[in-house]
Symmetry: C2
């Protein structure tokens, strides 16, 4: 047997010598795109062998010499004969969502370094005496006395919910009075037959407007056991929070429909994460949930109407400790604690609080700028001394909406663009025929066009004649005159799925200008509030799944974020999900989150007269 | 307008001069039996005018001179012309159950004397500022700040359940930010539009095996507003707790069926008591429940199986604080507190704890014997220094079961018997044709037969020839020889509903002997435990609806209770229900009840070898 480690998942699997990488991937539960079905014909299943020598035979026809030299092999043709480390490129992954989740692997080590695991969850095995005429203690008294012998404190005030009390008589007798009790906050939250004291898990959720991610964690070791991300099914009612809120206002039942949809998704994630980790979902005892304020309200079934219109009032901003039984149909034991992180305002939610926690902004001496890009751009600025925040309506351009060839970051979306003198290279998700361009691709493209002088400072896509004469004819030819300004040909029809070419139009550029101006104006207002200049910022953190794929250089070039040396700009991935995991493992961080949400200074941009000014200023590239 | 007061209900009503008593009764919601429909023909609607002069005309034909002189009038014929007080005899009441509840009237004064009203339930009216862009506090923050201004303590840790949180945004805006908050134990339990701070009610329930009684109380004044008693619908599954438990063991769903039945009854009582008191049931904020241990378990949906067989183990004996939402389909607001008084053992329940509380046994210097007669006789003995208790299986004879003409205390049951030299007089419930004899009638009858020497010491119903020669022929003739011993004719066929005579048989007497022996032996064992003799008992309290109707003299004569001077024997009515009302009004009595149930010494008779001996001894009359 040989051991194969797959990156970036860090997933290990043992296989017989001579097994193909494709087979090993399948066994590891990693699915990749194999258009030819693993016959060694299409050459799409390129993987990078980082460590471990493997044969390369048939590949020579399908891979370039350079690729083979770098270590690329075809997964379907290459056999493993010794321990190996193999990296699976993003492009060939079948479940794109999983990439986001697998990105989180390894973060746990960071958590364990920064926060010790602390929780008042406790599982105690009891081997109780059996009742007799001389010992007529009630079942409950017997259990309490057993716990008392195990030195559990405050037994007198120990609470037991009715649904657990109902189980006690039968369970005690069927288990021959050998049971495991799970306690938390001076309350019994579970009772099981036999000794199950070792099995103690929690799950953290980040409910995004577009994607819902769940992270299953071992509460004893802090290890992340599995992670699953799914599309938020509420998207059918609109891409952004405002349209979701609009949907709830149409009919009374719609709020419950949205709640049910997100709860169902959580249930699917619970099912998949526990199946992958091969644990029993009944041993999940703790849940932490983050999301923006609207997602928070919809998950709880709270009317979000007053979030949407001035003066933008949420029902509750504070943290909430609930039980699974409070959320209709949530597939966890009724006594499981559900902790909702606090929100900051109607448009700065618990996800941002979690991001502040996980990035350690709240305890850094450095002045840090944190930007979560999305339909709403949430911006946080400050240091341990004080934090400021605001939310700015960037609009859906970065999500691909209102852009002629725009699309969300899904299969076929161009997410990277590079324009050399003559050639345009781009990468699309899953590398098949392209279908459109997503936010990070758009930022790249516009940054490249600015660099080449094809877009001027005011955002105008110039005429062919205005171009730098040094520019190659190949690029110049791509500028096409239209009725409403020029457009630029990015992809020719033969390379796209529907056979139609992909352009970026003058109007598209205007949409991006509006979006980036909103973000940048928000940053400017915060700088003004904190009374510092952009140079004082010591670090910029780009958060969100989108922030993970964005090219920092392009973002700076197009003026989305202040001009800082590249090494000071960092993508922090799903900072919110990571924050939720930290809170799951470390009880004391709840107080930190509550303090963060309370102490942070929220700036309401809609009441700032200087915002419009900054906004117009920021329109220029 | 004149004011009419009805006894024993103490119900006042104002009517126009010249209104008939029958009409006034109807308006007061008191229903009486009027066989002729109020035409002045049958003469059944006899009421006693205690105060207030009224005319008496047609009555002369239907009432005796003596009756008229005493103040008896026909309700349908007598008109009220000035303020009057009128007593409505038990026999003519239509809803017999109501008599039990009305017995409680006036007890409240006693409660108010003994316990001050104390509760941490609080209703606060808030007139809140409206939100603006300069005041973006969340709805919940706004409410908390409002409460803070009203000097509510510990606001920081104030909890709000999700179902109330859901109501907040809409309610705040519909009520123009003028709301009333109900708080209890640092939790919001209700939120209402406008100022409703005055409306605060509670309901106490005594869930008996046969009868369920509910008492609606004003939590601010301590006043009992209405009381309703209903038959426990579980009786269709068996009269006693053992047969109910047997029913739950037949099929898994049966436990839920029994729970549903009793919850439905509570719901009916909630509906009727609130309708009678003309209050809104949504202003009930507190519930206290007592009952025997089996009824306690069935109400909670707890499996009572282990109560029924040795070593007799309840699931829980301790008090429980639940919420209405924990009890499926209970028609109270979900956040309403449901407090279950503690039990003592499998067969000494929370009803006895409530009885000990309401009779003040727990704080009396006197040595008191408390006997609750029923299928299970619960006995308590002791003083403030220490209390002892046991439960003894009296069997269903006193409930009328296993007695040839036995029946429960319902319409047509003989509940009083007197035998003079020649005549037998008896009283039946509602005084129509008789249908059988209930427990108190049976005790009377046997005591009378003992007095006359017709039953000898060993319990034998003697032959005619063995009778005292001074006994009249009329009585002697009633002894009839049968195959299995003699029987005694109590009622001739022409006076009974079905035309068949009512006898008491030798076998009936044996059943009563077994029952009374069980009770008396229990008392003897307790006396032995306490190490006192019967003469040391300073007071005997007879509890339960049955205890209310029992003739003390008869009970002593037949040896059901120790021979004490009559004035030291007291009926305490529904001591359990009264105890539940006290707990409803006085929070601190919960601690007292918990102490009572913990400190009382429970004697398990089934493990006492001396019980059989005492039992055989006690068989003799």
């Amino acid at each position: 047997m040989v051991k194969v480690t797959f990156l970036p998942d860090k997933k290990n699997i043992e296989v017989n010598e001579g097994t193909t990488i494709l087979e090993a991937l399948k066994r590891a539960g990693i699915n990749i795109n194999t258009p030819c079905g693993g016959k060694g014909i299409c050459g799409k299943c390129k993987v990078l062998v980082v460590e471990g020598i493997t044969t390369a035979s048939i590949e020579k026809e399908l891979l370039s010499g350079e690729e083979i030299e770098k270590g690329f092999r075809l997964a379907c043709q290459t056999k493993v004969f010794k321990d190996s480390i193999i990296e699976i490129p993003l492009e060939i992954r079948l479940d794109f969502n999983n990439v986001f989740s697998s990105k989180l692997k390894g973060d746990i080590h960071h958590i364990k370094k920064s926060f010790s695991i602390d929780s008042d969850l406790r599982k105690v095995f009891l081997d109780l005496e059996k009742p007799s005429l001389d010992d007529q203690r009630s079942d409950w008294e017997r259990i309490k006395d057993g716990l008392s012998l195990k030195k559990i404190e405050n037994i007198l005030n120990l609470k037991v919910p009715i649904d657990i009390l109902k189980k006690i008589p039968d369970l005690l007798r069927k288990s021959d009075f050998k049971i495991t009790i799970t306690l938390q906050n001076n309350e019994i939250i579970d009772i099981e037959s036999g000794n199950t004291a070792k099995n103690s898990y929690g799950i953290a959720f980040d409910i995004g407007t577009t994607t819902v991610a769940g992270y299953l964690v071992n509460l004893k070791t802090g290890e992340e056991l599995s992670a699953v991300a799914k599309t938020n099914p509420q998207v059918i009612h609109g891409d952004d929070v405002i349209s979701r809120i609009g949907f709830t206002q149409k009919q009374k039942e719609n709020l419950q429909i949205l709640q049910k949809e997100v709860v169902n998704t959580l249930n699917e994630i619970i099912k998949e994460t526990t199946q992958r980790a091969k644990i029993n979902r009944s041993n999940i005892y703790e849940t932490v949930i983050v999301g923006n304020t609207c997602m928070h309200h919809l998950f709880l079934g709270l009317d979000p109407s007053n979030i949407a219109s001035s003066p933008y009032i949420p029902v509750i901003k504070e943290s909430l400790s609930l039980k699974a039984r409070d959320i209709p149909e949530l597939a966890l034991k009724p006594s499981v604690n559900v902790y909702m992180l606090p929100n900051i305002s109607a448009f700065v939610g618990a996800d941002i609080v979690a991001g502040i926690l996980s990035t350690s902004m709240w305890r850094e001496d450095k002045i840090i700028l944190f930007v979560d890009l999305g339909t709403n751009g949430e911006i946080v600025l400050g240091s341990r001394e004080r934090l400021w925040t605001c939310s700015t309506a960037a609009g859906p351009a970065f999500e691909g909406a209102r852009i002629s060839a725009g699309m969300r970051a899904a299969e076929g979306a161009i997410y990277k663009v590079k324009i050399d003198n003559k050639f345009i290279t781009y990468k699309a998700i899953k590398d098949g025929k392209v279908r459109g361009i997503c936010g990070s691709g758009l930022i790249d493209l516009i940054a490249e066009l600015i660099k080449l002088g094809l877009i001027n400072k005011s955002g105008k896509l110039v005429d062919r004649e205005e171009c730098n004469p040094k520019l190659s004819e190949e690029i110049r030819e791509r500028i096409i005159k239209g009725q409403k300004g020029n457009k630029f040909l990015l992809v020719k029809g033969k390379e796209t799925e529907n056979g139609k070419p992909i352009y970026i139009t003058q109007r598209d550029i205007r949409e991006v200008q509006l979006a980036k101006a909103a973000i940048f104006a928000g940053i400017k207002i915060l700088l003004k509030e904190v009374n510092i200049s952009p140079e004082d910022i010591q670090k910029i953190l780009l958060a969100g799944a989108f922030g993970n794929f964005i090219n920092k250089e392009s973002a700076i070039r197009m003026g989305l974020i202040p001009q800082l040396p590249l090494k000071k700009v960092e993508s922090v991935g799903n900072a919110a999900g990571r924050g939720a995991e930290i809170v799951l493992l470390s009880e004391k961080t709840r107080k930190i989150c509550e303090r963060i949400s309370k102490d942070i200074k929220y700036i309401e941009l809609s009441s700032r007269t200087d915002f419009q000014e900054e906004f117009v200023d920021a329109m220029f590239f």
